[in-house]
Assembly symmetry: C2
Homo-oligomer: 355 residues x 2
Amino acid sequence: MDRPVRIVLVGLGNLGRRFVGILAERGDAVRRRFGLDLRLVGAADSRGTAYDPRGLDARLVERTKRDGLSISGYPSAGVPDRPALDLVREAEADLLCEASPVNLRKGGEPGLSCVRAALARGLHVVTSNKGPIVLAYAELTALAQKKRVSLRFDGTVAGGLPALYLGMRDLRGAVISRIEAVPNLSTGLFLDRLAAGTSWDEALALGHAEGQLEEDPAWDLEGWDAAAKLAILANAVLGVPARLEDIARTGIGGISPSDVRKEARRGRTIRLLALADRKEEGTYALSVAPCALPRDHPLGRLGPHGMGIVYWTDLFGRIAATIEESDPLPSAATLLRDILDIYVAADGPGRASPD
Amino acid sequence: MDRPVRIVLVGLGNLGRRFVGILAERGDAVRRRFGLDLRLVGAADSRGTAYDPRGLDARLVERTKRDGLSISGYPSAGVPDRPALDLVREAEADLLCEASPVNLRKGGEPGLSCVRAALARGLHVVTSNKGPIVLAYAELTALAQKKRVSLRFDGTVAGGLPALYLGMRDLRGAVISRIEAVPNLSTGLFLDRLAAGTSWDEALALGHAEGQLEEDPAWDLEGWDAAAKLAILANAVLGVPARLEDIARTGIGGISPSDVRKEARRGRTIRLLALADRKEEGTYALSVAPCALPRDHPLGRLGPHGMGIVYWTDLFGRIAATIEESDPLPSAATLLRDILDIYVAADGPGRASPD
C-alpha cells in the first residue's frame, strides 16, 4: 500500500508549474521506487486556488498554467480570488510546497505567512522561496521542531545543486573555515555576455527579454540575490544568525566590459562571489563582491549556466560542487528532492530498476 | 539527557585509529550540538580486542595504536587473540564501525562476517570497507532493512567526498544517464609523478615508501580499487546489481611517462576514470580505464590529491563534486558522517555555535 503525501502547492510561476510537470511525469516512478503517492490536492496562484481532497490532475494543472490561465478556473475545484493562505489553513494535507517568488520588500509575503501557517498546523514544508528563510530562519526552524515536522529549502541556494544539504548534512561534525559560492545564475551569464563584447545596455535588454533578470535587475546585479543565499548558508550551515544587512555587498554594476575582457585575457573569470570567512574568534566575515577567479580555482571555469560552492573544512579537506543548468528544471526538482528527503531514509529503498 | 551511541570499532589501522582520534577530539562538540554521546565500548585489531561497557578511553586507544601496540593490551579490558567477530557478537552496543582493510581475495573477510553478524543482531553498521559492500550489497541491504537498522558506507567511494550520498539521496527521483568518477587517489598521484619526470620504477618505490600503494600495487594500478568503487556506485546509486567482473577494466600499467607528458603539453590530464554509461534499454555500460581529460572537464584539473565525480541527470542538470584531501583524515571522518546521518535528521539541530 503506497503512502499518500497530500501536497498543497502555493505559487504556480515558472518553478511551481515545472514542479507540477515533474509530479505528472514522475509520479508513477516515485510510487514504484519509494512507495509514495505524491498527490497534489491543492494549488494556488495569485488569482485564486483549486482544491480537491481526492487529488487534482497534475497534467491539467500544468497545462492550465502553461496556457496562462489561473488555477481558479480548474473544473469544479477552482475558487477565484481565494487567498493562498486560506487554502494552506484549511486543506487536508500533509505538506506545503511553497514556490512563490521571493519578495523581501513586502516582508517575504505572502510566502512567509503560508509557511508559518503550514508549520503551525503540523504540515511539513518544502520551499524554494528565499524570503521566509532569510527573514525568519530562527522562528521557522524552531516552529518546525516544536511541531515535529520538517522544513526544507534546498532550492533556495544555487538552483539544483544540493549546496545546502552538502553543508548542513555531509559536513556535519567538521569546522568550516571558509565558504566560497557562486550561487546566482544571471550575473554569470551577464558577465559572460560582457566578456563576449556585449555592452551593458544590450546585456540588460537581453536579460530582460530572455527572462533571466527579475523585474528589478538590481536584485541580481547589485548582489541582493547572492546576499540572500549567503544569509541562508550562514544560518543553516554555519549556525550564524546572519541577516541580509550583516553582509558586505558589492554588485557588478561597477564592472565594465573592458574589465571583464582584461581579466579573461589573463585567464581569469569574473564572478559575483559570496564568501564566508571564519575569524579566529569563531565568527564569520560575510561578503558578496565580484572576484576574478583563476582557472585553477574550483569555480574558475563555470560556464554561463554554472553555479557552485566550495567548502574548506578541517575534517573533510576542501570539497567543491558545481552544477550546469540551462533551464529552471533543476531548481523545480529541488522540491521533489526535499520531499523525498523527508519521506525516504538515506539508505531506504533505492532504484528498484532505473526507468 | 544525551543519547548514548555505543560503538564497537573493528579495524585499528590508519583509518580506524584516525576515527578514534576524531572521537576523542570531537566527542564533546558532538554531544553539545547533537545531543549524542558517542561512546567507544569495544575495539578490535588483528591481535585481539578490548571491551568495556562503560566506554574505553578514546585518547588511550588512539595512543596505544599510534605506538604500534595491540588494543588487546588495553588495561583490564584487553583480551589477546580474541577474534573481532566474537566482540561483534557479544558486545552490548548500538553500532558497528567496520574499518578493517578491504580484502576481496579472502572473500571480504573478516569484515563481511562482522558486518553480517552486527546487522543480524540489530546493530547499525557504518563501514569504510569496500569488501563487504562489493561482495554482498544485496544481501546486506536486505538484512539491514529486515532488521530495521541502517547500513552506511559513504567512505567506500572517493574518500571524504560524499559521492555516494550525492547520488543515492540528492539525485533521487532523477534518471542518471552517466557517471564519471576519479575515485582513486594513488593512481592520480602516480600519474602526476610520471608527468613530472619520474620513472615507473621510481614512482612505484615512492608510492610504497610513502604508503600510498597497497602491498599489492596492482590493486590500485590495475584499476581494481576503482572498479570496486564503481561497482558500489552501480549498486547503491544506479540500482544495478553489478559485480566486479561486470566491469571492463584497464589499468594504468600500459601508460608511459612520455604519454602522460604528451597529453599534459596538449593541456590534458590523464586520470583513471570510472564510467557508467546508460544504454537505451536502461542498462549501464561499466568501465574503468585511463582517460585524457581536457582542462575544462569538471575532473580535468584535479590535483595529485584530488578525487571527484560527475553525475549527468535529466532533472538536476550536470552536477560535479570534487575533494582535495592530503591525508586519510577525510576518509576516516566519513565514519562520523555516517553515524551522524543515522542519528540526526537533515534539518535537525544545527551548529549551536561553531567551535
